[in-house]
C-alpha cells in the first residue's frame, strides 16, 4: 500500500511546483488521522490505485464530483490545500497580487475548457480503473 506521505507528495506534485516540505507532510498525515477516521477500506483502495498508478487526480476528482459522488479524493485534496494556503510560499497561488485582467480572462476561459477535458479524461480513468 502507498503511504499517506506518498499520497501527500503525489497530490502536491499534481497541483504545485517544487517539493513538499516535510512539515506539511507530517501535518497531512496527522490531519488524515484526525479528520478522516471513518474511511471505508474501498475508498482507501481507490486512493491507493490513484497514487500507485499515477492517475490524474484532477481528472478523477472532477469526474467523481460531477457524478455526485462524495469522494475521499476531494476531501484529501481539500486538506492539502488548507495546509498549503496558510504558508507564505503558496500565497501567490491563492491571492492575486497584481492587476492581470487579460491573463485572468484567458486563464478562466482555459479553466472551463480544461475542466471539460478533465471530466472526459476522469470519466475514462474511473471506468478503466474501476474507481467506483
Amino acid at each position: 500500500m502507498t503511504t499517506l506521505a506518498d499520497e501527500a507528495r503525489y497530490l502536491h506534485h499534481r497541483f504545485f511546483p517544487g517539493p513538499l516540505e516535510l512539515e506539511v507532510v507530517d501535518r497531512y498525515i496527522e490531519a488524515n488521522r484526525v479528520c478522516l477516521t471513518a474511511v471505508e477500506s474501498y475508498q482507501s483502495g481507490i486512493m491507493h490505485k490513484i497514487v500507485s498508478r499515477r492517475l490524474d487526480p484532477v481528472a478523477v476528482e472532477v469526474a467523481l464530483r460531477w457524478r455526485g459522488r462524495d469522494s475521499l479524493l476531494t476531501k484529501k485534496i481539500q486538506i492539502l490545500f488548507y495546509l498549503l494556503e496558510v504558508r507564505s510560499r503558496y500565497y501567490p497561488f491563492f491571492v492575486n497580487q497584481e492587476r492581470r485582467r487579460c491573463h485572468a480572462v484567458l486563464a478562466l476561459a482555459g479553466s472551463v475548457l480544461f475542466t471539460l477535458y478533465a471530466f472526459l479524461k476522469g470519466s475514462y480513468l474511473v471506468w478503466r480503473h474501476r474507481l467506483v
Binding site: 496558510v86 491563492f94 478533465a118
Partner: protein, 523 residues
C-alpha cells in the same frame, strides 16, 4: 437569596444584567472564554505574506479549521481555532437531533454573538405586528444600547425599514465592489424602487471612531479568525465591565439544569461542568436568557415534559454570488474589510413580508473555504478563486421565519432536543434580485445560488412566544412565563414572529425592557 438570577451571558443575558445592575443580580453561566489572539495582529494578508507559516492561528493544532471537511458545515467564523470556544462542548451539554435543522448552541461568554455579523436592525411597527409590544416601548432601549455599543451607518433609503437613528457613527469604508454597486443603484434609483428593491448602508455595532474606551475598526480582515475585536461589539465587553464594577455577581462553569418555584421565590439547580458538583441558588425572580434552544430545554426539563411539541422559528437563508466582469483579474485590495457592506431589502411583488439581504465581499476567509464549492475542476476552481475574488460579492439573503405546525422542538426522554424544520423552497426572490442587479452590471446565476440547511442562520426564536393572553408555554408581554410567578424569558424564545432581519439588537432591547420592568417590580 438574590433579587434576580440571570441564566446566560449572551446578548439577552448581558442586556438584562445591565438593566438590573445595582440590584442583587447573579449571572449563572457555563461561560467558556476564548484566548487572546497574540499572534494575530495586523492585516491578515500582510500576515500571510510576512510569516512563513500561520498553521496554528488559522488551522490549529487540533485541525479545527478543517472541521467543515469531515463534519457538518458550520459558519466559517465558528471553525477558526481561536473561535472554537464558542461551540465548545455544546453537543455534550445540549444535544440536538434533527434530520433537517442544523442548529448549534453556545455555552461561551457572549454566546453566539462572538461570531455575529454585528448587524443591528431595529424592528419597525410592521416587524412587530405579531408582538404584544409596541415599537415605542422598545425605542428607549434601542437608544440606550446604541449609545452603549456604538452603531455605525447612515440614515439613507433604508431608514423606513430600520427607523431613523440620531446617534449613528459614520459608516464603514465600503469595498470598491460595494461602493460601485451603491453608486449604480443611486443612478438607477427609480428602476430599483419600482421593483421594490432598496439598497443602503448596514447598521453595524462596529466602531468607526473610538467610543466608550474602545478603539475604531482597523480593516484587518481578521473577523474570521480572531475573537474580541474591540471595534466589534461583543456582550462580553459589557459583562466584563459589570463584573469589574461589582454591579453583578458572576458564577462561571454553572450549567443550569432546572428551576422550581416556592413560596419565597425560585430555586435554581446548577451543575458545575468541571467537577460535577450540584448547587442550588435562590432568588426572587429568574430571568432565562440562555439562548432560544437552551432556554426551551430548561423550561421543558423543569416541567418534566417530554411530550410537548413547541413551535420554532429561524430565518431560511440563501447565498447569492454576484460578479463584476470588469473587475476580473483585479489585484486583491488587502485594506478592504470583510464586514457586511450593504443591505438590500426586497419589498416587491411576491412577498407579504420583506426579505433582507446583506452583501459581503469575498475577502477575509481562506480561498480553500470557497474553492471546493465552485463547479470546475480543482485547478479551475483555484484559478476562479484567485481571479474572481476581487470581482465577487455574496448576498446573504434572509427570509422571514414563519410559524408552521409541522415545525417543532421537543425534549426527548434522553434529554436530547428534537427539532423538525421544513420550509418552502426558496429561489424566486433570489432570481428577482439577480435580474435587477444584472441591469447595473452585477451578474449572478440562479444555478450558483446556495441554500444552506435550516438552522444555519443561527436566528432561533419563537419557542415560548409572547402573547397578550398567553397559554401554556407562552409568555406575557412582560416576559413572564405563563403559570409561573417569577420566571421570565428574555431571549429569542419569546419572539412570536421572526422578520427577515438579524434579531440580536431586538433581543437585547427586549431583554432590557423586561429587566427594567422586573427592576421596578422588586423595588
Amino acid at each position: 437569596m438574590f433579587d434576580v438570577i440571570v441564566v446566560g451571558s449572551g446578548p439577552a443575558g448581558t442586556s438584562a444584567a445591565y438593566a438590573l445592575r445595582g440590584t442583587s443580580v447573579l449571572v449563572l453561566d457555563v461561560g467558556y472564554r476564548g484566548m487572546p489572539a497574540a499572534s494575530l495582529k495586523g492585516n491578515i494578508y500582510e500576515l500571510r505574506r510576512r510569516y512563513a507559516d500561520l498553521f496554528q492561528p488559522l488551522i490549529g493544532e487540533r485541525f479545527e479549521g478543517l472541521r467543515n471537511i469531515w463534519q457538518r458545515k458550520i459558519s466559517l467564523k465558528l471553525k477558526a481555532p481561536l473561535m472554537s470556544f464558542v461551540l465548545r462542548d455544546w453537543e455534550k451539554l445540549c444535544p440536538l437531533r434533527s434530520d433537517n435543522f442544523e442548529g448549534v448552541v453556545s455555552f461561551a461568554q457572549g454566546g453566539l454573538a462572538n461570531a455575529w455579523g454585528a448587524g443591528v436592525f431595529r424592528f419597525t411597527s410592521r416587524d412587530l405586528e405579531d408582538f404584544p409590544v409596541k415599537a415605542s416601548e422598545l425605542t428607549p432601549f434601542y437608544d440606550e444600547l446604541t449609545a452603549l455599543m456604538g452603531v455605525c451607518g447612515r440614515n439613507d433609503d433604508l431608514a423606513p425599514y430600520f427607523e431613523t437613528e440620531a446617534q449613528l457613527l459614520p459608516p464603514i469604508h465600503l469595498t470598491r465592489f460595494a461602493s460601485d454597486l451603491l453608486h449604480r443603484y443611486e443612478q438607477r434609483h427609480r428602476y430599483f424602487r419600482s421593483r421594490g428593491i432598496t439598497v443602503g448602508y448596514p447598521r453595524l455595532a462596529v466602531l468607526t471612531r473610538n467610543h466608550n474606551g474602545r478603539s475604531a475598526y482597523q480593516y484587518e480582515n481578521l473577523e474570521f479568525f480572531r475573537p474580541y475585536d474591540p471595534a466589534i461589539y461583543n456582550p462580553v465587553f459589557t459583562l466584563d465591565s459589570l463584573i469589574r464594577e461589582g454591579s453583578i455577581r458572576y458564577e462561571a462553569r454553572q450549567l443550569v439544569l432546572r428551576y422550581a418555584e416556592g413560596p419565597s421565590g425560585v430555586e435554581v439547580l446548577a451543575k458545575n461542568v468541571d467537577d460535577g458538583r450540584m448547587t442550588t441558588f435562590r432568588a426572587r425572580r429568574l430571568v432565562l436568557a440562555a439562548g432560544t434552544l437552551s432556554t426551551t430545554k430548561l423550561v421543558l426539563q423543569s416541567n418534566n415534559d417530554y411530550d410537548e411539541r413547541l413551535p420554532i422559528l429561524d430565518n431560511p437563508m440563501s447565498l447569492v454570488p454576484l460578479f463584476r466582469v470588469d473587475k476580473i483579474g483585479d489585484a486583491l485590495d488587502s485594506s478592504e474589510g470583510s464586514l457586511a457592506q450593504l443591505v438590500v431589502i426586497y419589498d416587491g411583488p411576491g412577498v407579504s413580508r420583506n426579505v433582507q439581504a446583506t452583501l459581503y465581499s469575498a475577502s477575509g476567509a481562506l480561498r480553500s473555504d470557497i474553492l471546493f464549492d465552485l463547479p470546475l475542476s480543482i485547478k479551475g476552481n483555484l484559478c476562479c478563486a484567485k481571479y474572481l475574488a476581487p470581482a465577487m460579492g455574496v448576498l446573504m439573503v434572509f427570509h422571514p421565519g414563519i410559524v408552521r405546525k409541522e415545525n417543532y422542538i421537543r425534549l426527548a426522554p434522553d434529554n436530547t432536543l428534537e427539532v423538525n424544520y421544513e420550509c418552502e423552497p426558496l429561489g424566486a426572490i433570489e432570481r428577482r434580485l439577480i435580474e435587477a442587479f444584472r441591469k447595473i452590471g452585477y451578474w449572478g446565476a440562479a444555478a450558483l445560488c446556495r441554500f444552506p440547511p435550516m438552522g444555519t442562520a443561527l436566528h432561533y426564536a419563537g419557542t415560548l412566544p409572547m402573547k397578550a393572553t398567553p397559554g401554556r408555554y407562552q409568555t406575557y408581554p412582560n416576559g413572564r412565563l405563563f403559570g409561573t410567578k417569577g420566571v421570565y424569558v428574555v431571549d429569542g424564545a419569546c419572539f412570536p414572529s421572526l422578520p427577515a432581519k438579524n434579531l440580536t439588537f431586538t433581543i437585547m432591547a427586549n431583554a432590557m425592557r423586561i429587566a427594567s420592568n422586573i427592576r421596578s417590580d422588586i423595588g
